[in-house]
Subunit: 155 residues, 2 copies
DNA sequence: TATAATCCCTATCGTTATAGTAGAGTATAC
DNA sequence: GTATACTCTACTATAACGATAGGGATTATA
């Protein structure tokens, strides 16, 4: 039995993480943002968001300031944070089945060279990577700024 | 809370279903194949495969013959069975998050027109569909036939 | 017609992931 | 020194996954 995690699924945790990073992108350079504010704006349970932010901190995406007037800010400029990076960090490998890993190192599928389907799943993995690794959070923020004036934007 | 199933994941059930349809493709036109033979060739637990075949029957992919010398055969010619069809039938919608449905009818995401990420997940869904809806089981069988002689093929 | 081989159907089960909730602790501004 | 924030660990309810179990119904053939 294969135990390696796989599946291209954006969980609530992943979705929340992306929205959080995007919100922090919009506040990049303006100090920290408190969990409470993020949770309220993005409609995320506070205690759940706490865990997510701790993870993102371990992942090197955000840094925090403790105590009163504490909060979070991005550790890297939004132009250097790719969508795919965050997705993979929070929700795991982006591949439809464990045998279709883009990491060449993975040797789990014994019959890899014989399995027709593997080629297809590899193609799928690659197509997805091409999309999510081509978008940075700066790109996303720019889209929002372009939209401002058209409609009131809300994540 | 969203309850709709989503996620681009090929489960064991899905993987088994694909391999089963492929095996039946290789025997298309030569009568029925017994569950036992399929299970042995494809290394699938017999009782699990029973369930999968019953599902595939409900889905109109296969038909069965009961009694002694019974078994399964494809209901449609392999050229008319797309990979994506089987995947969607067995493992559900192929989209990374419920809001990114290709079915225009789905209205679950209230802020759809405002959410930047939705566009990306829709793009991902479309890229996957372009791949898996372009391959038929006849195509796969032809690849196998082309490989025969090179190496002993085994699913 | 007996029997063996085969498909048909429902129920159950152990494990893991998901989406939280709870509560106590630590740091800092004022 | 206290209110406001982040930190960390533990717990829980639900569902999906990957089977397994145990019959019942059908049919070819001896």
């Amino acid at each position: 039995m294969e135990v390696r995690k796989s599946g291209v699924k954006i969980t609530y945790k992943g979705d929340y993480a992306l929205k959080t990073i995007l919100d922090l992108t919009l506040h990049y350079g303006n100090g920290v943002v408190a969990i409470h504010d993020l949770a309220k704006r993005l409609d995320i349970p506070v205690k759940f968001l706490e865990q997510i932010l701790l993870d993102l901190k371990k992942g090197g995406f955000v840094a925090s300031k403790r105590g009163k007037i504490g909060g979070y800010h991005l550790l890297r400029p939004p132009a250097k944070i790719k969508l795919g990076e965050v997705v993979r960090f929070v929700d795991g490998p982006v591949e439809p089945i464990a045998c279709a890993s883009l990491e060449a190192a993975y040797k789990g599928c014994r019959d890899a060279h014989r399995c027709l389907f593997k080629d297809i799943w590899l193609e799928v993995s690659k197509a997805i990577a091409d999309i999510i690794d081509d978008v940075t959070f700066e790109d996303l923020a720019n889209k929002i700024k372009a939209k401002r004036g058209e409609i009131a934007y809300q994540i």
